[in-house]
């Protein structure tokens, strides 16, 4: 706070992000200068890790809850604050996992990778606190461009280039649709700010029965843009191909991180549109489609990353269905589902990262997991517990997220969706159970010998295991925080 310029209070909101931005520039320059060093990759990873830790510390210590800056261009409330802290901690775990996975692998050929990840994290941080369509679009595009590059990082493999290309083209089209929707809203009402959107919503609900078709279509297009990035059906066709083609570390990154932020953003946006039920009904359809495609699509998959893709579609369907109730419980359940889903995905990728065979190559096919119990029986058991959790078997972690979403649906008496969801839930549990069968008792007696996991990854896995097993003892901790977060959304500055 040594500068006292006219932007001081406005920039205070982004104190930590400013730090991250500047330090990333410095790290980029530093690594370009020393790019001929043998260990430049490890140094860059270490520097990015440190800078993220410092960003987290700065953010925690900045006094910026209930804040708005640049005349409501960006805001901060408890929701955004907690989400950003959770996101930063998750990103720290992911970066350490990616680093530890890459030590022996020579596919990661240049130092730009961690810097790009740093920029993606920065853009996601700014995205969640945006209060205006324009700010949202700009940060979304920044994040998307970085992820397009990261998806095609192994440029000499066909799969990677193809997935990057698909992601780029389809992502550009969806951003186009998003921008078109934003521009229609601006054209009809002159509004880009969310605070004004709330007032528009309120006055429309007072004076008119419902929106005019044009504004509904425009907001619908915005929602389509966001749902595309999340990977909901029927906009999910890119997800399996891109997840499969991208290198594993990038898949790990964009299976979780953008979903946390974009899902959080979706909840915030829908909160503002809560007076009109048409959007929630639309979301119901998308949610049910997502769960259907996610459950049935994954049944035939034999490759691990495609399985992850379809299970991601399934989980996103649950998140959307949680929001589609439109009640406080609905938002609560959706946000809890986001948290729990990201923890489960982190656990999943941590275990997949540790399973390297003797040539230090990670798994591509599911059948490689055969009889894991023979080569590493503790890891097999932890993996089985994680898979039971993702299938939604109590008393493990994943059950509570499903319970909350089903509860919010039953509270709003959406019985048809409830029963459909329950049936699809049991269908989708099959592919997790099939993995458990492969791990423990397949008829084929072969097994693949995996190397010993590294120490830090083992710590991460064991912490996540204890969360998985003992969540139900301390479930109140998460639920009270999420409760406060959703309550803070009611406050406008």
């Amino acid at each position: 706070m040594l500068t006292f310029n006219i932007f001081y209070l406005n920039l205070l909101l982004f104190f930590a992000e400013n730090y991250l931005f500047t330090i990333l520039l410095f790290i980029l320059c530093f690594s370009v200068i020393f790019k001929n060093n043998n260990k430049i990759l490890e140094i860059t990873f270490g520097l990015i890790f440190l800078s993220l830790i410092l960003t987290l510390l700065l953010y925690v210590n900045t006094d910026c809850i209930a804040f708005s800056s640049f005349i409501n261009l960006f805001i901060s409330n408890l929701y955004i604050y907690n989400l950003k802290i959770f996101f930063l901690i998750l990103s720290l775990c992911f970066i350490s996992l990616i680093y530890l996975q890459q030590i022996h692998n020579e596919y990661l050929h240049s130092f730009e990778y961690p810097v790009l990840i740093g920029y993606a994290i920065l853009s996601l941080l700014i995205l969640i606190s945006s209060n205006d369509f324009l700010a949202f679009y700009l940060t979304l595009e920044l994040q998307s461009l970085i992820l397009y590059i990261l998806a095609s990082y192994n440029y000499y493999r066909n799969y990677s280039a193809e997935s990057g290309m698909k992601y780029f083209i389809l992502g550009a089209v969806s951003s186009g649709i998003l921008l078109f929707g934003i521009s229609i809203i601006y054209g009809l009402t002159g509004i880009t700010n969310f605070n004004d959107l709330v007032l528009l919503n309120f006055y429309f609900s007072l004076f008119f029965e419902s929106y005019q078709v044009s504004i509904v279509a425009a907001i619908f297009m915005v929602l389509i843009g966001i749902l595309f990035k999340l990977g909901a059906a029927p906009f999910h066709l890119w997800v399996p191909d891109v997840y499969e083609g991208a290198p594993l570390r990038t898949t790990a990154f964009f299976a979780v991180m953008p979903k946390v932020i974009l899902g959080g953003f979706l909840i915030r946006l829908l909160f503002l549109l809560a007076h009109h039920s048409i959007f929630f009904e639309l979301l119901t359809i998308f949610g049910v489609f997502s769960v259907i495609f996610g459950s049935f699509g994954a049944l035939a998959q034999m490759k691990l990353k495609r399985l992850v893709a379809f299970s991601a579609i399934n989980h996103v369907g649950f998140i959307i269905l949680g929001v589609s109730c439109g009640t406080f419980t609905g938002f609560f359940s959706s946000l809890s589902y986001l948290f729990i889903y990201s923890l489960l995905s982190l656990n999943f990728f941590a275990i997949i990262f540790t399973l390297k065979n003797q040539k230090n190559i990670v798994i591509t096919k599911i059948n490689t997991l055969i009889n894991l119990v023979k080569s590493n029986n503790i890891l097999a058991f932890i993996f089985a517990l994680l898979l039971f959790s993702m299938a939604g078997i109590p008393p493990l972690l994943g059950f509570y997220s499903k319970l909350l979403v089903l509860f919010s649906l039953s509270y709003s008496y959406n019985l048809v969706i409830l029963i459909t969801l329950v049936i699809l839930s049991s269908i989708s549990s099959f592919y997790y159970i099939r993995l458990i069968k492969l791990i423990f008792f397949d008829l084929n007696k072969n097994y693949v010998f995996f190397n010993v996991p590294s120490k830090i990854t083992s710590y991460i896995i064991s912490i996540l295991l204890s969360i998985n097993l003992f969540f139900f003892i301390g479930a109140d901790l998460l639920f009270l925080e999420v409760n406060n977060m959703v309550l803070s959304l009611y406050i406008y500055i």
């Binding site: 039971f388 008393p395 319970l403 089903l406 509270y411 409830l418 329950v422 109140d476």
Partner: protein, 482 residues
């Protein structure tokens, strides 16, 4: 007191997890002794049980999730007391039977058995609907692994899948019912739900949701297909747990949840339950007659016995209800004993197909005597505990619908047919079968497995009042809802 059991069980699991695999003898002895300690602790629950009160005894409660109004409430009444004791009674027998016959990863097997015991203790004593559901489904995890990993042949994968998915789909429908009930009442505390009333259509819907889960567990007729598969492919200890306790979870669910909470719907669906039960009794008994696999015979006879139980439960008079309860306990003992007997035979000769056996009584006279006694208990012969249960059920059903009682007794006759025929084919069928090369009668360990079971079957058959005096008040209370 119940918390003591649970915490001790968790400590046993933790200690077992930490002992390295090379101390196998110590692991076996430790798990056997600790399961005995758990059994004696649960017997002490019976000692301190007050027969003259209708309250839930040993009631403890502490808050779990304040934001959702959910509490952990434990309590026992006559209904759950004996199931708790039965579950802690069967686990030492399971450990004894797998003492030397499980060679692959015995430590993990024992850990899974103790996990099952932990979940069973919690299920039978918990008085909160969502927590009941959580632990009801949580049993799927260890049972799935038990059937899949320690089963004996190829079909175990198919059996494990069937068991898992039948139970999962049924339980998920129950989850829908639980959630709607929670939105209606605002809490899932059992004692509060007992005092709230539901409209008739809502009762019907909720009863059907709960029925989906309990009908799969019992199992009632169209949903029984998992049972022969799971019983046959499971290891001996797994079959004992399945037949002895897990089937009773369905009956316990009906008695604890469906009937007190939804009395109108329970009366409304009496014709449905009666039809399904009668068809199941006759059909299962007839199917058993043509089976050639020993375990499958006992599995189908379990289906028949459990459907006797639902027949008695839904007759809604004191005789029927108490008969159903007593038959559940007796079936827990008899069915487990039969599976243990088949386990003995399987350990020696590694086949369960009846055609390979014949004249076994000549080389295993002691075992032949024990198995004959168990066969008679399976038929519900007088002086065994099964007789008490079945006679009470038939008398109870007779008051409601004479035709149903007649068909039920025909089912008993079929039961006698297959049981005696199986016994004849295995033990008495002329000279010793040429496939049997080695002669060894029951050893001391197996004798001590059967001894408590036989003593209890005779004891409960001759003096059943020792159980009845604790449960009279519970069932009289239950009948007050009608």
């Amino acid at each position: 007191m119940i918390l003591n059991l649970i915490v001790l069980n968790i400590i046993i699991i933790l200690i077992l997890l930490l002992i390295p695999n090379k101390f196998l003898k110590f692991i076996r002895l430790f798990s056997l002794i600790s399961s005995f300690i758990l059994f004696i602790l649960s017997l002490s629950l019976w000692v301190f049980f007050n027969n003259n009160s209708t309250n839930f005894q040993f009631y403890t409660k502490f808050d779990w999730l304040d934001s959702f109004n959910l509490t952990f409430a434990f309590g026992l009444d006559g209904l759950s007391l004996f199931f708790l004791i039965l579950s802690t009674f069967l686990i030492p027998l399971c450990i004894l039977v797998s003492y030397y016959s499980v060679t692959y990863r015995l430590k993990e097997f024992l850990i899974l058995l103790f996990c099952i015991e932990l979940f069973l203790i919690i299920i039978f004593s918990i008085l909160d609907l969502i927590l009941f559901y959580i632990f009801f489904e949580a049993i799927l995890i260890p049972m799935f692994l038990l059937i899949g990993v320690w089963g004996s042949r190829r079909e175990r994968i198919y059996a494990a899948y069937q068991f898992f998915f039948y139970t999962l789909v049924g339980s998920l429908f129950m989850l829908v019912g639980v959630l709607i009930l929670y939105s209606h009442v605002g809490t899932t505390d059992y004692l509060i739900i007992l005092n709230s009333s539901f409209s008739e259509i809502r009762q019907i819907f909720l009863w059907l949701a709960f029925f989906a889960s309990f009908a799969v567990k019992i199992p009632m007729l169209p949903f029984h297909i998992w049972l022969p598969q799971a019983h046959v492919e499971a290891p001996t200890a797994g079959s004992v747990i399945l037949a002895g306790i897990l089937l009773k979870l369905g009956g316990y669910g009906f008695l604890r949840f469906s009937i007190p909470m939804f009395p109108f719907a329970s009366k409304f669906f009496i014709p449905l339950i009666f039809t399904m039960s009668l068809v199941a009794i006759v059909y299962a008994s007839l199917t058993t007659i043509r089976q050639i696999d020993l375990k499958r015979i006992i599995a189908y006879s379990s289906v028949a016995h459990m459907n006797y139980i639902t027949l008695g439960m839904f007759s809604f008079n004191l005789t029927g209800l108490e008969g159903a309860y007593f038959l559940m306990l007796s079936h827990g003992l008899v069915s487990s004993a039969l599976f243990l007997g088949i386990g003995c035979v399987y350990d020696r000769y590694k086949t369960r197909i009846i055609r390979y056996y014949g004249g076994l009584a000549q080389i295993m006279p002691l075992f032949a005597f024990v198995f004959l006694f168990l066969t008679f208990s399976n038929i519900s012969f007088p002086l065994t505990s099964g007789f008490v249960g079945e006679i009470l059920i038939i008398v109870g059903v007779f008051e409601i619908n004479k035709f149903a009682a007649i068909i039920a007794s025909i089912g008993t006759v079929f039961g006698a047919v297959y049981s005696i025929w199986v016994y004849n084919r295995i033990f008495f069928n002329g000279p010793l079968s040429k496939y049997i090369q080695k002669y060894s009668d029951m050893n001391r360990r197996e004798f001590y497995i059967f001894l408590p079971l036989i003593i209890l079957i005779i004891y409960f058959g001759v003096y059943p009042n020792i159980i009845f005096e604790s449960i009279h008040l519970t069932f009289i209370n239950m009948l007050n809802y009608f």
